[in-house]
Each structure stands twice: as structure tokens, then as C-alpha cells.
């Protein structure tokens, strides 16, 4: 940082909103007063978003006889949920009991609090611990199929994560969607390409929403929420209330950068393209409290050379991070324990990218070892694009292709191997994960960039999934929220497989209370 030129400073200062020249679609919009509004349609309950939380809220609410409309702004259903890995933490669950795993609510909460650096909201953790089994039963009733054993994810004291038989979030979304669409005759509907624009208010009560139908989300825009003018406006009444289940904002270039200016605009998230903050920000305008919005979880195992989550994370986590090393291309040196926790590694990569934008660190291992734990399918998928994985005959080729000082790079590999033999790694990599790199090559090489993965913060809800107002410190009548759009459950850092629990439990609770 000491030798930062003026030009580099300017580059860094892209956070400055004045640098943006967005056309202001909603410039004069603010929550709409119900007085004088002619509603185009009337529903009992309107749910914004069709992921885990939205579908859980809609099904629960519909079961009580409500006419429920789900609005999904994208053409595709399920947002991030459908591309999720499908693990769901349920503490002290029946599958654990069958397989002899001892677990408790207190242990689960302690695990979450440890990961969350102690700033989790206890009453929300309490709720997802108390209702986890109910959520599991709700899912099974709605056709979700689980494996007969629990998986042990990082940060959990015991194996407590239920897995769908297809190892994917789609294993939840698909059956719930079918159940919901079967309610057509009861007056329920799921509408695609329907974008929530604003709330309709009667005093401080949410009584409806303004939407645009036939919306065409445009991932090429800097901010789809602010720039996209597509679609036809409609005003819908929600007689009993609105459930906000619009997800996180990992792909909102403007808002995520305000919270963490280290994220370059050209870095994709692991999320689906529609993960933006529009609906969240509208809730702030009607007085909803913002909670812990700057805690963004990054995947330090991701690559800038593919879109979305991609294949890179598997190739690095189960491959080059384990059987190779990661190197700063500027000096050819290692800069982190390749198997440290996510935050430590993401911070280390960001440090490099802040000092030298675009100088993505690389990770590599010799081809014999690199992907030996992976299935041929995955490897072929990784190699297919020709962009994600570089193949280099030797260290000199890595040096020339990625702009690394060759001598330093060779010295680094030599030093690493010495550490392996001495069973003592300079960055504290676990002894069990140390294996020598064949200095002769050939090598597989992947560039690294931390990708936004999950946004921990959002709206403050209470145990009833009601959204709390800063104007009163009480619930906003008619407004509920669940899932990634809310904040507090995960604190500073979400433990793997707790997101689904959070989404399903609070979606269910919203549906019960509305």
C-alpha cells in the first residue's frame, strides 16, 4: 500500500457511488399509500420469492385455506436454493438417533454461535433448533426424500446434516413446487417473471405490493433493480399479508461493495444472477431494521475464470489445495494455509487483490496427484471449458503463463516439499494433508478469487417471522420474512447446512402466523 499511485487510488475508489451513472427507474418511487389505489387483483397472502423459504411459507399458508400467490422475478424457479448442495442441519433428529449419534439443541446453538463469532441472535437460533424436526416432517410430507444417514459438515460437533437423495437443493424445490402447483384448483398460483417493486401501505400496515409482470431480468446491467425498465405494472392486494423471501444480495454489485469494498465489480458470486438487494432495500424504506448487513461469506476456493459456483470449488478444495499449494503471482510465494477456514483464506486473497487488482493468485498441483480423489465426470467438466484449468508442462511454463517469477516459484515448491518431509508446514497446514509436489510437473493450475457466497445480514424478524420496525420496535403489521433476506440467525458467519434449516423453519413459521 505504501507505494500506491494516484491512479491506483482512483481505481480503488470505485466504491464512490458518484462514479455510477445509472438511470433511475425508481427515482421518485417510495412505498405507495393504499388510499385511492385500485387493486388489479386480490390475494390472501403474497410471497416474494420461490426458494426454500418462499415455498415453505406458501405451502404452510395454503394448507390453512389461504389463496396464495408466489411471485418470482426470474424465469427459473428456486433462486439459489435450487443450486444449493442440499444439506440441512437438524439437531437431535431421528436419523441421528437411529445411527447412535448424540446431539442436543444446546450443542447445535453453541456450534452456530462459535462460527457466528457470538453475534448470532439467540432467539432465532432457538427457534430453528426447536422447530427443526417439525421442518423435517413438513418436508417429508411434501415429498422430499432424505438419505438414511446424516453428514458431518465442517464446524458442527457431530453429524447432523440431512441430505436429499439427489445431493441437491432441487431435491427440496422440485417436490414442494409440484405440491404447490397442485393447489391451482384451490386458487393458488406461482407467477414467473413477476418483479416486486414496492409495498402498498395503509398507515404502517402492509396491504399489498406493486409488481411488474413479464419482467425480463438482465444480468448485463450494473444494477438490474435500478436500471431495468421491462414489464407491465400491476398493483396487488394481500389481505392477510406479504412474506418477503427474496434471498440474499451476493450478486448486487452496488450494495455488496458498500458493505465490503474489496469485492471487485467483475467478480461473479457463487449465486444465481438474480441475487440482488432490491426487495431488502424497499423494506428499509418502510422502516424495517437493518441487521448485520456487512457480513458476507466468501468462497476462497472459487475461480474468476468461470461463472457462478462452477466446478472450480471442487477441483481446488478436494484437489489442488490438498495436493498442491496456492501462490501469489507477484512474488511466487505461498500466502496462506490452503486448508484454513474460509474467512482466513478469503482475507488473504483479498489482500493481494486490493494491492494489485487483477493479479489473481494461483493454485496448482502435479497432474498425477491433483484430482486423484475426484470422479472422471467432475474432472472432465473442469477441463472442458479450456479456461478454468491451465495445463503446464513444468514450473517454467507456469511462471511464463501466469507471470510468476520463475526462480522464486521453484524455491517455493522446494521449500514446501522440505516442509512436507519435516512434517512441519510454514503456514500450519495439517500434517495429514501434507504430500510432496512432483517438482518436474506437469501441473494443473487454477486461478483464485473469493466469490460472495452468502449474505448473513438482512431484516430483523422475531420468533414469529414478523419483520420488526425501527419506528416502533414492534412488528410491521402484514409483513413477514424468512431466509437469506433476514439477518441474525447466522451472526458473522453461517455454518454449512444451517441455511436450509433457517429458510424452511421461518418460512413455515411465517405461513403459520400470517
Amino acid at each position: 500500500m505504501k507505494n500506491l499511485s494516484r491512479r491506483e487510488m482512483l481505481k480503488m475508489s470505485m466504491v464512490g457511488a458518484s462514479a455510477l451513472a445509472l438511470s433511475a427507474v425508481n427515482a421518485n418511487a417510495s412505498a405507495v399509500d393504499a388510499k385511492g389505489v385500485k387493486f388489479d387483483e386480490e390475494w390472501d397472502v403474497i410471497v416474494i420469492g420461490s426458494g426454500f423459504a418462499g415455498l415453505a411459507a406458501a405451502l404452510t399458508s395454503a394448507k390453512k385455506g389461504n389463496k396464495v400467490l408466489i411471485l418470482e422475478k426470474m424465469g427459473r424457479i428456486g433462486g439459489n436454493s435450487v443450486i444449493n448442495g442440499g444439506g440441512m442441519s437438524v439437531c437431535a433428529n431421528p436419523v441421528q438417533a437411529k445411527t447412535g449419534i448424540k446431539d442436543s439443541k444446546e450443542l447445535f446453538i453453541a456450534d452456530c454461535m462459535k462460527a457466528g463469532l457470538g453475534i448470532n441472535h439467540p432467539e432465532l437460533l432457538n427457534a430453528i433448533a426447536d422447530r427443526g424436526i417439525d421442518a423435517l416432517n413438513f418436508l417429508i410430507e411434501n415429498g422430499v426424500q432424505f438419505k438414511e444417514h446424516c453428514a458431518h459438515f465442517g464446524g458442527h460437533t457431530v453429524a447432523r446434516s440431512m441430505l436429499t437423495t439427489n445431493d441437491s437443493g432441487s431435491g427440496y424445490i422440485q417436490p414442494m413446487l409440484e405440491k404447490f402447483e397442485a393447489l391451482k384448483d384451490s386458487g393458488c398460483e406461482l407467477r414467473r417473471r413477476a418483479k416486486f417493486d414496492d409495498f402498498v401501505m395503509e398507515g404502517d400496515r402492509v396491504v399489498g405490493v406493486v409488481i411488474r409482470e413479464e419482467y425480463k431480468f438482465d444480468s448485463k446491467l450494473y444494477s438490474d433493480d435500478l436500471e431495468n425498465t421491462s414489464g407491465t405494472k400491476k398493483t396487488l392486494k394481500a389481505k392477510k399479508g406479504v412474506v418477503l423471501a427474496s434471498g440474499g444480495f451476493s450478486n448486487d454489485k452496488a450494495f455488496r461493495k458498500l458493505q465490503d469494498p474489496r469485492i471487485p465489480d467483475d467478480v461473479d458470486a457463487t449465486n444465481h444472477a438474480g441475487a440482488t438487494a432490491g426487495a431488502l432495500l424497499k423494506a428499509f424504506e418502510i422502516g424495517a431494521y437493518p441487521v448485520q448487513i456487512d457480513w458476507i461469506q466468501f468462497g476462497p476456493w472459487a475461480s474468476p475464470d468461470e461463472k457462478g459456483f462452477g466446478t472450480g470449488p471442487i477441483l481446488t478444495q478436494q484437489g489442488t489445495f490438498k495436493y498442491g499449494i496456492a501462490v501469489d503471482v507477484r512474488n511466487g510465494k505461498r500466502f496462506m494455509n490452503e486448508l484454513a477456514d474460509r474467512k482466513t483464506r478469503a482475507d488473504a486473497e483479498f489482500k493481494i487483490l486490493r494491492e494489485a487488482p487483477g493479479k489473481y493468485p494461483i493454485t496448482f498441483a502435479d497432474t498425477k496427484m491433483a484430482f486423484k480423489d475426484l470422479s472422471e465426470d467432475v474432472i472432465q467438466k473442469g477441463l472442458a471449458s479450456g479456461k478454468l484449468v491451465g495445463e503446464c508442462a513444468n514450473l517454467d511454463e507456469i511462471a511464463s503463463k501466469y507471470g510468476v517469477p520463475a526462480d522464486a516459484l521453484k524455491e517455493t515448491v522446494k521449500k514446501y516439499n522440505e516442509g512436507v518431509r519435516a512434517k512441519k508446514d510454514e503456514f500450519g497446514k495439517q500434517e495429514s494433508a501434507l504430500s510432496e509436489i512432483n517438482e518436474a510437473g506437469p501441473f494443473y493450475v487454477i486461478r483464485l478469487s473469493p466469490k460472495p457466497h452468502h449474505t448473513m445480514g438482512g431484516l430483523k424478524i422475531n420468533e414469529k417471522a414478523e419483520v420488526i420496525s425501527a419506528k416502533t420496535n414492534k412488528a410491521i403489521p402484514g409483513l413477514y420474512a424468512a431466509g437469506e433476506v433476514t439477518g441474525g440467525t447466522h451472526g458473522a458467519s453461517r455454518l454449512g447446512t444451517v441455511a436450509i434449516t433457517d429458510c424452511i423453519v421461518f418460512g413455515m413459521i411465517a405461513g403459520e402466523n400470517i
Copy 2:
């Protein structure tokens, strides 16, 4: 955490807003539409808050011929500024040059970014670095008197902090206040006990404010902002704009706990009682972006046994932390390096208080050594209340008075002394700060509690001190902000003495641009 009872869980879950029963003064309030409003008064510029930022904005704006009104909700002027220590970072300043200290803008920014964990907003740091000298000259012109040398504060690479001759923030506030009050004849005014309640809007433009005069702030209320009904309403026009300089929210029990649920309601901040989030939250309602609002800086050297900043911080930092140890009363063991950075120590204390609410850790040293570096004045002030500092004849008395297992406590002191002799402390306390504790006593003992000290986050402003709107990603016409109510300059953690720079520079910039 493992053996948490249901009752303890309930205690912890006080974050749940549903636990609160506040009367909702502003229940139906939201920004007021200027249409049909009859203004009681007209001003060019209205400034909310009379601290560093507010006075700098007011004086700069008044100099341009504007009729400026400053609104201060408290009876006392200067908020946290007047109780501040008075250090102001100015990089590459003339006093440094005279005394041969080499400094640069780049070095200053690098220092701030390191403390801020890299999430500082670069364009804001850039601005305070660029305009630091201007701010210094502005202050000198307005009668502020500085010492002839710079002080070297923790985290800064070089000595670059200017100090007022009276070592206090009042050294800024008093002369600026006098200058401003001298502008009475030019139509400027500072009004005490005048509480900002809301903005008056013309479309998306801020054109005025709703206030209450004769407001009586009540520190006994859980939330003064929501519960206090005192005062008489007035509506004021601000022809050129409004500057929000309302400070941070370290004393806002409801809002600070949403961001960090570890903060108990009964823990005072180091701040003045009026440091609440009311004005900040009103800005969110008109669409202002929230930025990094959950980064709260704590003073781990503070005591629960006195109000506000108090004398404890001096007695611990320059006394018992250096010449003694800190101990967990539950087991009599040390739990931190008493001289680690603020965050590390605050986290360690919070861990204890989360596990065992009310079990404040203690710090102690033998009376001969404890306060040997402090002036008699300070020591007498510390001992005067009889509550802050406990005097114990020996370790057994400490054990019985503070509920510590006596044998474990003795063992801890013995072990610490062994470490001192071996020049190797188990928590890595600096060798230069190691000195043996006289095991025989007598001792001075102080209880510890991390107190909220500074709230890093707030509103997003640009380099012109304009508040940025989430509705447009552009400036909100007519709204400026400066100081602790804004976020981004300090990132995750403010470096000491950078707050005044931030306040004065952006106050000045707001005044220049409005």
C-alpha cells in the same frame, strides 16, 4: 454453552424485539410530504448536531453567507466530541515537518486500512487525507490551539496526531461554538433541546425538518427516540439543505443490540447519553443506504461500576493491565493478553459475559505497583467513588469479595510470576510489560466490561458529503452528512484520532457544497 438452561436461554434472547413494550411515539410517522406543509421558520441550512462535524459544517456554510440553524437535542453542546481526548490525525502536516517526521498520504491510508480490515471506503479515506491540512487551517482560523508536537497513537506508523493544548475535544468545540454564536447578528442560531424528528420531502428532495422544541432527553427510558413525548412540534424549511451530524449510536440499547447481541442492556457506553440511532434510522426511511452498521468498537478497559467513559480506562490501561493481570472470576484463571488489541480483549470478555451474564472479569495489581505511572489526581478520582476500585488485603480477600476460587487464583498469580521470570507469558504479553506481582498484596481490583465506544457504520456519503440513495445510487438532493452518523471511512475498526479528522473534513466539505 452446553448446559444452558431454558431460563438462561430466555435471558439471552432479550434481542427479541417482541420482548419490548415501547409506546410508539412515531408509530405512524414517516417522512413528511412538503405539499400542504406550513413552515414555522425558514433557514438556508439546518445542521442536526453540535459536535465536531456539525460545528464545522455550520461555520463553513455560514462563512458563505448562509443563515444557518444548528439543532442540538441535548441541553449540553458537543455530544461525544466535547468529552473526546482531542487527538486529530493529519498526515504529512507542518508540525511533523518541523520535527522531522516523515509521513505521507499513502502511509496514512495504509494504516487506516490495516486497522479497518481492508473494508474501508477508499474514496472517503482519500478525501480526509487530501483535506487534513485544510481542516487543520480551518480549525486554527477558528481559534483552536494545538500543541507544538504530534503524538504517536497506536496503529499509526508515525506520530501524526495533533493535540489541543487542553488535551480535550472541548479545545475544538469551545472556540468553534464561540465563533458560531458570534454570528447571531448574521442570522445564525444554535438551538438547544431541539430534537430532529423527521425529514420534509419534496419528491426525493429534502426541503426541511420536523422538530420538537423544549425537548427533555430522558436517559431513564429504554429508547428515548421511541418513548419520549416531550416538546413542542415545529416544521422548519431548509432552503439549501440539511446536514446530518447526529453522531453514533453507542448508547442506543435497541439498535446496538440488533447489531451485536452480546451487549447487555445494562452496560453503559463510553459515550454521552444522547448517542442514539434515531436520526440515522430516519435517513434509512427516505432511502439512504446503510453501510457497515454492525462494526461497533468496544473499550475492553472499561468498568461496569461507573457511568460513561469514567476513570477506569486510565487505571486499567496504564495500571492494572500493565502491572497486573485480568482473571475470569468463575475459575480464577487469566483469559487474555491484557495488552492485546481492543477487539481481541473485548471478544474475550464478551465470551465470559455471554456464558455467564453478570460475571464480570476482574483486573488487579498490588497497590505499590498498580497506579505508579498515574498522577495523584487521577488516582484520587478513581478511588473517590468507593465503587470503581476495590481494595483487598490479600488474594483470599479478592477471592471472597469477587467470588473467585481462592486456590486457583493463587495458582494463577504464581504461574504469571513464573512466566515473568522466564520472560515468556502464556498469553504472549509483551516482554517489556512483564513485572512480578507481589503475591502478598494488598491489591487494587477493578471489574471489567467492554463498553461500546464508537459505531463505525452509518450512512453512505460520497466525496462531497452528499448522502447516497438506494433508490437511485445517486445523492439525495438536499441531504448531507458528516461524522459518526456516516460509515465507511474507518471500515471495521477506527484507528485512534482519525474520528476528528473524519468529522472536521466532511463537516467542512458539507458546508462547502451545500
